[in-house]
């Protein structure tokens, strides 16, 4: 057990093991993604109220779900790196932010595209949509803060502080946005509620949620590998790697 933690602190080991993991996970995720999307896109019946536009659900919901989960991964990594000063956690936090931001962006854009045929408008200030926008800002904040620091060790710690403060605040933000919504506007759009999903729609949806988790993990691992290299340029093993690899 202890030696596992010790190994986690060793960049070359992490670099190698992430590479091995990637080699397996990437094809599997891509396969799942392809199956889920084609299934949903071409082999399911249209929703009786929304028609064919509902097919966006197979990208919209997975992206939203994984984007939200991603923030917790990032904040957890930040907390670990700040409290136990673990290098891996720092690297993982740095690697999560762009992936999470991209998924949030996808959720926003697909939701927005979906809104046009369904509600007749690209954007509404609904509680959940607004909190998704805030999530995007939180991700962008971490990325921008990291990029703004020259000293990457300091950058990692600064981002860790930020995401730790973020974890404390996230529940407050979501609660308040929810409250704001119910204060100002009676529920005009409900995602959850009555729309109990038909199993024929549910299976491809579940598959593509799993696929999105897989893609998220792959991008995370890839980013971590690149980040390890960037931080360890001066060390012997990276130099040997550069010399050896063609």
């Amino acid at each position: 057990m202890w030696s596992f933690f010790h190994k986690l602190g060793s960049p070359p080991w992490l670099y190698r093991i992430a590479g091995v993991l990637l080699r397996w996970l990437l094809p599997v995720s891509l396969l799942a993604l392809g199956t889920g999307l084609i299934w949903g896109l071409l082999f399911t019946a249209p929703d009786f109220r929304q028609g064919n536009s509902y097919r966006i659900i197979y990208i919209h919901v997975p992206a939203a779900v994984v984007a939200l989960a991603g923030y917790y991964v990032m904040a957890l990594a930040g907390a670990v790196s700040l409290i136990w000063k673990m290098k891996v956690a720092d690297i993982a936090m740095k690697a999560t932010a762009p992936v999470g931001a991209a998924l949030t962006f996808i959720a926003l854009v697909t939701g927005s595209i979906w809104g046009k045929p369904t509600w007749g408008t690209w954007w509404v200030w609904d509680a959940r949509i607004t909190s998704m926008l805030i999530l995007l800002f939180l991700y962008l904040g971490v990325i921008a803060l990291y990029e703004a620091y020259d000293n990457k060790a300091a950058a990692g710690r600064a981002c860790a502080v930020l995401s730790l403060v973020g974890t404390v605040n996230i529940p407050i933000i979501y609660k308040s946005v929810d409250w704001w919504y119910s204060l100002h506007q009676p529920a005009s759009i409900k995602f959850t509620g009555e729309s109990t999903i038909d199993p024929t729609m549910l299976y491809p949806l579940l598959l593509s949620i799993i696929a999105f988790y897989g893609v998220f993990t792959c991008a995370l691992l890839g980013n971590m590998r690149a980040e390890i290299l960037a931080r360890e340029t001066r060390t012997g093993w990276v130099r040997r790697l550069a010399g050896g690899e063609v």
Binding site: R55, A230, R239, A242
Partner: protein, 69 residues
């Protein structure tokens, strides 16, 4: 296959533009996200290799520094 024809699949009762745009954009962003780390990694290694080569030639720390390491 739900759709009868290729055309029907593209049009999707008038919602095709929305659906295909959403899927296209998603796939684009996902492929960028997946490709970015590999590109960055290869660039880093290439730069490092160049530096190592220069260093081997000049054999001085100064040269390594001047090369923008």
């Amino acid at each position: 296959m739900y759709f009868d024809s290729f055309k029907a699949m593209l049009v999707m009762d008038g919602h095709g533009a929305y659906v295909w745009a959403a899927y296209g954009l998603t796939l684009l962003v996902l492929s960028l996200v997946l490709a970015a780390p590999g590109r960055r990694r290869r660039r880093l290694l290439r730069e490092l290799r160049g530096e190592l080569r220069r260093q081997a030639r000049h054999g001085t720390k100064e040269a390594a520094y001047a090369s923008g390491s």
